[in-house]
């Protein structure tokens, strides 16, 4: 068996995990979810969700990776060979997410090239909307109207894949050096945006909207589910990424406190982004005399429509601040995208014993080709449907199954004992309770709610045929491929799994 790559030290490992966890969702989802679910009062369920579900599930994934020194397929396969399938489901889910995530980065490249004339295309929200949907995306009327491939989007997609491919083939040592820049840099950029925002007239309007607490919301179970959902979806768990990253550390690595540092960093960045977003939106609301409620948005609507329009209204240095904002989006996105590529590449290396260059190139080329339909006029619709189905079902299912496997099959006591060997903060019965009962029940509730909404009416009003083909179809493809990969075991996989089993039985 080939010698496995390793991070230089624990700090680099934590940096890598933070880079993976901090993504677009921190900037464009958290502020909106917080404002919609009680404002400042949302901090209470959010913090409780972080402590009771976020950190425990992060410890769980780190633990699985560290004990197996392998990707998710090996980590779960070494507990029971029938569980290898769950690992592959997670890894292929990561691959699916990366296919469309890189397209969003492709949009960002396009915006970076249009910063020079931001004052023309972002005169107000309507012109900014027209720029995004007509000039950049050239959207059609629905998911079945592909019309044609847009070369600006294809080029953006290509630029993203080349960037993350170059990063991953450079090896873990180089990645470690890149991370030393890629992780702190967005924090600095957000701080600059925040300082600019806070010094603008009207910032208080946005910040009041973001932070004024509505305590009555705490009695609403939907707010608690939103908090758990936000924590869960922003930590990059359930993709197999944290398992792969932890597997690149020596077995005596400390885990619980590393998981706490990663999770707190991720949430602190979200909070900071919320301040930067709403201070500038508040200024925009006052400058244009539009109620803040009507311009508060999430997702691409915030990042590519409302925020550029707000930046274009700044009194000075519009292009500079627009550049900072899109650079931040690009960097946080690329950190996450290359972690997803590494997840799939590492799994292939573990399975077939192939080289880093070969496995990464194969995954990058196939993913790029599969992403081409997203560069058509129907791209944004396909992206939306696939994202919804993978996030709501694949990732959530994987996380629930991981909790069941560790909590019930492997046994939370054994797991805690293994983790506590080198722990700075020891875990025990409360951790066991969270992964055996609390986290799976909450995740199952989130998934059930999503499913019930699906039955009520098709997601986002898309035609049923599109939901069936692109949404359910993607899930079926991932499911079938996972089964094929899990059933066709290789010598490498078997050797590694057997080694872990032996070591566990001997108590090494």
């Amino acid at each position: 068996m080939k010698e496995r790559d390793q991070w230089q030290n624990r700090s680099v490992f934590i940096m890598a995990a933070i880079g993976s966890a901090i993504g677009l969702g921190n900037m464009w989802r958290f502020p909106y979810i917080a404002a919609q679910n009680g404002g400042g009062a949302f901090m209470v369920p959010y913090f409780i969700a972080l402590i009771t579900a976020g950190i425990p599930i992060m410890i769980l994934e780190y633990g699985l990776g560290l004990r197996s020194q392998g990707s998710a397929n090996i980590a779960l396969g070494s507990i029971n060979k029938h569980l290898r399938f769950i690992g592959w489901f997670a890894i292929l889910g990561a691959c699916g997410i990366n296919i469309y995530y890189c397209m969003v980065m492709g949009w960002t490249w396009n915006f970076l090239f249009h910063i020079g004339d931001i004052s023309q295309w972002a005169v107000d929200v309507n012109s900014s909307k027209a720029h995004f949907f007509s000039d950049i995306l050239n959207t059609s009327k629905g998911p079945w109207e592909f019309v044609k491939i847009h070369y600006n989007l294809l080029l953006g997609l290509f630029a993203t894949w080349v960037t993350i491919w170059l990063i991953i083939i450079s090896g873990l040592k180089q990645i470690g050096k890149i991370l030393l820049f890629m992780v702190p840099f967005p924090v600095i950029l957000v701080l600059i945006l925040l300082v600019r925002g806070l010094t603008l007239e009207g910032a208080n309007v946005g910040l009041n909207y973001y932070l004024s607490p509505d305590w009555s919301k705490l009695a609403d179970p939907q707010v608690w589910l939103a908090a758990y959902g936000q924590i869960f979806f922003s930590l990059s768990v359930g993709f197999g990424t944290m398992i792969a990253y932890a597997s690149f550390m020596p077995k005596d690595t400390e885990l619980p406190n590393s998981a706490a540092i990663t999770s707190f960093s991720n949430c602190a960045f979200s909070f900071l982004s919320g301040l930067a977003v709403f201070s500038i939106l508040g200024y925009f609301a006052v400058a244009t005399n539009i109620p803040i409620e009507s311009i508060s948005d999430s997702g691409p609507g915030l990042a590519f429509v409302v925020y550029p329009a707000a930046l274009a209204k700044l009194p000075l240095w519009i292009k500079f601040f627009a550049l900072l904002f899109f650079l931040t989006l690009l960097i946080v996105g690329i950190d996450s995208a290359f972690s997803l590529l590494e997840t799939v590449s590492a799994a292939l290396r573990d399975k077939f014993g192939s080289s880093r260059f070969k496995s990464t190139t194969i995954v990058a080329v196939i993913s790029f080709i599969l992403g081409i339909p997203l560069a058509t006029s129907a791209g944004i619709y396909l992206l939306d449907i696939i994202d919804h189905f993978i996030m709501s079902y694949v990732i959530t299912t994987v996380a629930i199954l991981e909790c069941i496997v560790v909590g019930w099959l492997l046994g939370s006591k054994i797991f805690c004992a293994e983790v506590n060997l080198n722990a700075e903060i020891r875990i025990g019965p409360s951790f066991s309770f969270m992964i055996k009962y609390l986290t799976p029940i909450i995740l199952f509730s989130i998934m059930t709610m999503s499913f019930l909404k699906e039955i009520e009416k098709p997601y986002n009003g898309y035609p049923f045929s599109a939901i069936l083909i692109f949404g359910v179809g993607s899930l079926l493809i991932l499911l079938i491929l996972s089964m094929i990969l899990a059933n066709n075991k290789t010598e490498n996989e078997e050797k590694q799994e057997a080694l872990i089993k032996d070591e566990t039985e001997k108590g090494v």
Binding site: M43, F47, Y210, L211, S212, E254, I261, S265, C267, F271
Partner: protein, 42 residues
């Protein structure tokens, strides 16, 4: 800015950045002990 919004900003900041600082502090302390005992950085 409303007083209650300022208080929530402080609480949010304290909980998240305080939690982060606390975790880093623990890691730093253990690292210091480890260097003292083994002469090795973990």
């Amino acid at each position: 800015m409303e007083a209650k919004a300022i208080i929530m900003a402080i609480i949010g900041f304290f909980l998240l950045f305080g939690g982060l600082a606390f975790s880093i502090g623990i890691a730093w302390y253990h690292n210091k002990i480890s260097i003292k005992n083994n002469g090795k950085n973990n």
